[in-house]
């Protein structure tokens, strides 16, 4: 089968969805090809912009951007577009009833490891500054929730000098859902709390703690679609400040954000094709004509005027690797990596590693360029982790780069 649209976007992580939406909002017909749902569904759902540069914590990510290397995606996109993309998401989420807010500088979110993690734009329920002003904090979990252990969280939080003197208490709520050998994850409870009987359960279970502790730290369990409303209701009914903690996959807040974006895609008329893997590209005279996909059987050809590739990095499948080799998986663009795999990584797991920064080299329009800087494919843009030049994990810049580059690529393609 052969289909034609204005723009084909590949990948439905935050970068792909943002690119598809912004392009569609410019009036383009957009087809979004996806192979799996992208890492937003398993992420913590907060937009980290920049937490560390060269291992040093930064207070203001925008001020620190100047210290980033020239080929860093933020440098290519420019501060103004990074800010514009954040505003755009803020508006989108606000309209959907899930307000996202930034703080003065980087906010410190509490994680289920009992660590603090710098982030920028986050749902209101994650804002944790309330802890600073109080002495007594209850750390809440649910029985059998194996990813969230208040004992660990308290032990680790007290290792921060600023929190050492706080009075933390463990609060373990009874497990409200039956279970077999299944996990009880924050997602299970969040889905339960989304229902009226679940909300009532949570309110009743928290009430005794709310009387004694002005701040309650919770796993991300405050519902799904109506998380903000639930948060507001509980805070006001219990007269307490509730803070959700950042947790590991399955990502509750990431899924909330994904649902918001997915709904927007449907409303914007973006044509979503699921479960389809791009296997071939047709390139003529430096331009991509079409991409071919396979699914459970057969092939489909997708023509467009321009393409945005947001297929992710190693995890997402946008980057393929073999001993001593790495490449971009759709066009087969080789990534410049040493032949000896041992040189790819630092002996220390969170050290400065080449592989963590490997990716497609692009210009300011996010079009791929060769070593001399000449554009290789003039109607193709790359967005998100497929880009080289940054290490999302140690910088804490994953969603920030994905959002900014997705927005930049979608907006530029939309204007063409």
């Amino acid at each position: 089968m052969n289909r034609k649209t204005d723009i084909v976007v590949v990948g439905s992580g935050i970068a792909g969805m943002t690119a598809a939406l912004t392009a569609a909002q410019s009036g383009k017909k957009v087809t979004l090809l996806t192979h799996g749902v992208g890492s937003l569904a398993i992420s913590s759902g907060s937009i980290d912009v920049l937490g560390y540069v060269n291992g040093k914590a930064v207070a203001d990510p925008f001020a620190a951007m100047a210290d980033l290397p020239e080929n860093h995606p933020y440098r290519l996109v420019g501060e103004a577009d990074v800010r514009a993309s954040l505003d755009w998401l803020k508006e989108l989420c606000g309209k959907a009833g899930m307000a996202m807010q930034a703080g003065e500088g980087n906010q410190q979110l509490v994680t289920v490891m009992g660590t603090l993690k710098p982030s920028w734009l986050t749902p209101l329920s994650f804002h944790a500054e309330a802890i600073e002003d109080v002495l007594r904090v209850a750390v809440v979990s649910v029985e059998d929730m194996k990813d969230v252990h208040p004992g660990l969280i308290i032990d680790q939080l007290q290792r921060y000098p600023a929190l050492a003197k706080k009075e933390f208490v463990k609060a373990i709520l009874p497990n409200p859902i039956q279970q077999a050998h299944r996990n009880v994850t924050p997602l299970d409870i969040a889905r339960f709390v989304e229902r009226p009987e679940g909300l009532q359960w949570l309110k009743d279970s928290l009430a005794p703690y709310a009387k004694l502790y002005p701040v309650l730290l919770l796993p991300p369990i405050l519902g799904m679609k109506h998380s903000q409303k639930i948060w507001e209701q509980l805070c006001s009914a219990l007269n307490v400040k509730i803070v959700e903690m950042v947790s590991i996959p399955p990502g509750v807040a990431g899924l909330r954000l994904r649902e918001v974006m997915k709904k927007a895609l449907n409303e914007a008329g973006v044509y979503l094709v699921e479960n389809t893997e791009v296997v071939r590209s047709e390139v003529e005279q430096g331009a991509c004509k079409a991409l071919t996909t396979v699914a459970t059987g057969g092939e489909n050809r997708w023509e467009a005027d321009s393409f945005i590739i947001a297929t992710g990095g190693l995890l997402g499948g946008g980057i393929g690797t073999a001993p001593g080799k790495a490449w971009e998986t759709i066009f087969g663009l080789p990534l410049d990596m040493p032949e000896n795999t041992e040189e790819w990584s630092s002996p220390s797991i969170f050290g400065d590693s080449l592989f963590a920064r490997m990716g497609v080299k692009v210009n300011e329009a996010l079009k791929p360029v060769d070593a001399e800087g000449s554009v290789i494919l003039n109607n193709v843009r790359f967005a998100g982790r497929i880009l080289g030049g940054y290490d999302f994990a140690t910088e804490k810049s994953g969603h920030g780069v994905a959002l900014a580059t997705g927005w930049h690529a979608g907006t530029l393609a939309g204007k063409e």
Partner: protein
């Protein structure tokens, strides 16, 4: 100061085997191990319980020992042995003239080597190269090194044996040409400990030379690095050997949920040469492909290396050519009474080695007691009733795994699980439940997450620690397990240890896995940034 009759140095298969044997003979003994139990070569090898086929031509005596011990271990350690049998496969690249002498040598050693029709062999093992020329069935088995050593340790404890892990021996005290005691340092706390004793047994494997140096002697123990690859799933049901003069990369051992491909042989300059060069992995893959053509499409979980403690008397061959036999040394011949060492050998014959050494120790101590280790099962098997009960608290595949891993402790853990409100799997990849982890962590021998891992297989499956390490450190902190390290440091240490095995094979599917691990621990949980911000 503690007192005992014998101090054993080294908590590998041999040392723990000696501890059990002596304890069964009524000799008081304390074992000192610098790391965790079975953290050296006893867990850093392919896990093959040799039929002896591999040594039949070159060293028929060693082959005989293998087949005898193989049969004994199937009896006494059946929880640790998968009776998977083995194939010796003659490929297009192997010398067909080797076949006949090999079959004859197997016959001489008492190893049943039964020819299997190639078609039938391919039906049984479809992953094998279809162009193979001949196949023989032998009684190879796979054996879980960690588990066997631990079951021996549990049995030794039952007989009164004591063991101290994370205790490094720093001195052997002597008086008038006779050993008086041992000084050791707790590597976790730095505390020193003195134990007075009548005898010292040096069973430190690749570290044995270092121990001998403490008393000013020298010995020819040559560490020899063997690299191995662990794959994510079983792609054969049987152990697959090449039918040729034993060499690198010619054994596949399916093992629980994984397959191990081994091994290389390189001279190592130190006993803890556990780093894996990528070149070793590529070499193993090249060779392995001869037997299993699709090998590169399977996912590598990690690579690891161990050092064989080869005993090389002056002038003998080293490396692959060195004997796999063992040697018991009585240092009184060099003027030091009360110290014996055991060098060389291999896992399959650990029991025999312990028996021979204990015979010498008993003779020197004037103890008259028969060795019973070849007769008495190491642990008591789980009863069918207990397995049925466990099914309520463990997932279906987790029951036999837990029963076999825990051995005698299984009923205790089942009771513990029954008493808990629920018994979630903290490690989903290897199906390790909270009850098991809490039980193992409470053992004084467990000083960190890595010790817990060795005993439970926590973090050794598909995700290599991405999910289970947070859950485990959380659960253990929750129940106040007294680890010396802070939770975050313990976790970092654990992930770093896993990283060591991932990074030389950083490609393909496992590179994706590792990217997820970094996303969880660095991007989401910021355990890297927090290192400098928290007081650990």
């Amino acid at each position: 100061m503690k007192h005992t009759t014998v101090v054993i140095i080294g908590g590998g298969a041999t040392g723990i085997g000696i501890l059990r044997d002596l304890s069964m003979r009524g000799v008081k003994a304390i074992l000192l191990e610098q790391g965790g139990i079975a953290s050296g070569a006893s867990s850093r090898y392919h896990g093959l319980l040799h039929s002896g086929g591999r040594y039949a031509v070159k060293d028929n005596e060693a082959a005989k020992e293998c087949i005898e011990e193989n049969m004994i271990l199937r009896r006494i350690g059946k929880e640790c042995v998968e009776e998977s049998e083995g194939f010796f496969v003659l490929t297009q690249q192997d010398d067909p003239d080797f076949e006949k002498p090999w079959v004859e040598a197997c016959g001489r050693a008492g190893i049943t080597a039964e020819q299997v029709d190639v078609k039938e062999a391919l039906r049984l093992e479809p992953a094998l190269d279809p162009t193979i020329r001949a196949v023989y069935r032998v009684p190879d088995s796979s054996v879980d090194g960690f588990r066997l050593v631990w079951h021996n340790a549990m049995s030794a404890r039952r007989y009164g044996g004591e063991m101290l892990t994370h205790h490094e021996v720093i001195a052997i005290e002597q008086e008038a040409g006779k050993v008086k005691g041992v000084r050791a340092r707790n590597t976790m706390t730095g505390e020193e400990l003195r134990i007075s004793c009548d005898m010292v047994v040096n069973a430190a494997g690749s570290w044995a030379a270092k121990i001998v140096q403490l008393v000013g002697l020298e010995v020819g123990v040559q560490p020899d690095r063997g690299t191995l690859i662990a794959f994510n799933h079983r792609f054969t049901s049987r152990i697959i050997n090449r039918l040729h003069q034993s060499s690198d990369g010619d054994i596949f051992v399916p093992h629980g949920s994984i397959t191990i491909l081994g091994t290389t042989s390189f001279h190592a300059d130190r006993p803890d040469a556990h780093d894996v060069p990528t070149a070793d992995i590529l070499k193993l893959l090249d060779i392995g492909e001869v037997l299993i053509p699709n090998l590169r499409s399977y996912r590598i979980l990690r690579a690891f290396a161990g050092t064989r403690p080869l005993y090389v008397p002056k002038g003998a061959a080293a490396g692959r050519g060195a004997s796999r036999g063992f040697h018991v040394s009585d240092h009184s011949e060099e003027g030091l009474e009360g110290m014996v060492s055991i060098f060389g050998g291999k896992f399959t014959t650990y029991r025999l080695m312990a028996e021979k050494l204990c015979d010498l120790v008993c003779q020197k101590l004037g103890v008259h007691a028969e060795c019973r280790t070849a007769i008495e099962p190491i642990i008591e098997s789980a009863s069918p009733e207990m397995l049925e009960k466990a099914a309520k608290y463990f997932p279906v595949h987790g029951v036999p795994l837990a029963a076999n891993r825990l051995g005698e402790a299984f009923p205790v853990v089942v009771e513990k699980a029954a008493a808990m409100k629920s018994n979630p799997l903290l490690c989903e990849c290897e199906m390790v439940s909270r009850a098991e982890i809490e039980y193992v962590a409470a053992d004084p021998a467990s000083q960190n997450l890595t010790d817990v891992r060795l005993r439970t297989r926590l973090g050794m499956g598909t995700c290599q620690g991405t999910y289970c390490s947070l859950r485990t450190i959380g659960a253990l902190t929750e129940c106040n397990t007294p680890f010396a390290m802070s939770p975050a440091d313990n976790l970092r240490d654990f992930l770093q240890e896993r990283w060591k095995g991932l990074r030389p094979a950083l490609w393909g599917l496992q590179a994706r896995e590792m990217d997820l691990g970094r996303a969880v621990y660095a991007a989401t949980l910021n355990i890297d940034g927090a290192k400098n911000e928290q007081k650990n």
